[in-house]
Symmetry: C2
Subunit: 249 residues, 2 copies
């Protein structure tokens, strides 16, 4: 791959350019893009030309830059999460209507919770999760449920890299994880937002490992919680069945 | 940008590699990938290394290649369709439950109908639309509704490029488009699948142009159609309101 004088490959720069956009910054001026991506301004202008012509970026009428529809199309039409999302969406709709609070679907990815889908209702409690956003494992019920149902090697690897932050927040971690596995769900009060309680149940593969988690966020202290947990546990079993090959039904 | 001896840029090859995957081919062997992307096999192996290390592609345990979660994350967290999708999803759930048939959201993109979201029900009629899949404008109610509510320049540009195919299928095109604008929706029987009827209503911006369309597919000859159209027209107005700046409510 062609490298710039700094040893930066074209692909490094491309990924940093795409990474410069997020939910808070869906459009950027070219100068802001160069700064956030840490790519020289002249190089950014030159790359921009090709990226726009390939549809990976787009220019608004006012000259601002945003991600292109072609990028969205390429990334989504065979996404590995597509089956999971299609299987989960009808159940998420049911929970969203029955429980009346935000419902989200997430996976463990590179030591973070990656939100795959989120349905929200007007009037739901504050919720920090965004589609394709990342959240810390140790500060979410989603992360704790994913960890409790991970293969031992994944759990130990995670703890090697993040044990300190985890144990500072969860001094009785082993006990908590065992308790999540015993009850089949994770729930924590106000880990991120003091006003809310999260609850998450795993969608399990045939070996009993979490493929994903389904979660709701309810107001802290809400008497909705036991019913919401039961809805989650019913839905996650339905999703697992919908995902399993027909012969296993 | 560094070019190969054939004048192919790195970005050309990258886009062709990503483009080799689709709903029917979510995983590929490296050889199949090289063939479908029309990239020499040795170059594909070399590029694969970097693409996997950047998370744009991933390798399965059996050596097959698929799109990486990082690509999905980068493309989705600030997608320009995110607001549209978030505004439309609750209405799509309602229609999906009330009408009990597939519901989809689409935009006009590069002379095709690009499906942004799709909700389906078990037992729905056959439906060719996939999330992030493209469909021909002249063979879908979605495309015809999008065209009828496009700015004149978009409509004329489309007809210049695709007038022949369009008029072969829709000899009274101007009349059909006027009729769609008069009634506020498009409906066609069996344009793609002889067993089904599609109906689509536009989500309009403040100038009266379509930002997107909302559509259902019902069994051909179903007496559900008038009610489904009314549900679509109610939902599209709700979505347009949800998308408008607060001051315009």
């Amino acid at each position: 791959m062609a490298n710039s004088p700094s040893g930066d490959s074209m692909l490094d720069r491309l990924v940093r350019i795409l990474d410069a956009f997020d939910a808070q910054n869906p459009t950027l001026t070219v100068n802001a893009l160069a700064r956030r991506a840490d790519v020289p301004r002249a190089t950014t202008y030159r790359l921009l030309e090709s990226l726009v012509s390939h549809g990976l970026l787009a220019r608004d009428a006012d000259g601002q830059v945003r991600l292109g529809m072609r990028l969205w199309e390429l990334a989504n039409r065979s996404a590995s999460t597509l089956d999971l999302r299609q299987a989960a969406l009808p159940f998420m709709e049911d929970i969203n209507q029955l429980v009346g609070q935000n419902t989200q679907l997430a996976v463990l990815h590179e030591d973070d919770v990656l939100v795959i889908e989120r349905l929200s209702r007007p009037g739901s409690v504050v919720n920090q999760a965004n589609v394709a956003g990342r959240m810390p494992v140790h500060l979410t019920s989603m992360g704790m449920a994913l960890l409790a149902y991970s293969p031992a090697s994944v759990l130990e690897g995670y703890l090697e890299r993040h044990g300190e932050a985890m144990v500072a927040r969860h001094p009785k971690l082993r006990h908590e994880l065992a308790e999540i596995r015993r009850t089949g769900y994770a729930t924590f009060d106000g880990l991120i937002d003091p006003e809310s309680t999260g609850a998450a149940a795993p969608i399990l593969d045939t070996r009993g490992h979490a493929l994903a988690v389904l979660a709701v966020v309810v107001p802290r202290g809400s008497d909705l919680l036991p019913a919401a947990v039961m809805a989650l546990q019913t839905a996650t079993r339905g999703i697992a069945r919908a995902l399993a090959p027909a012969t296993e039904h």
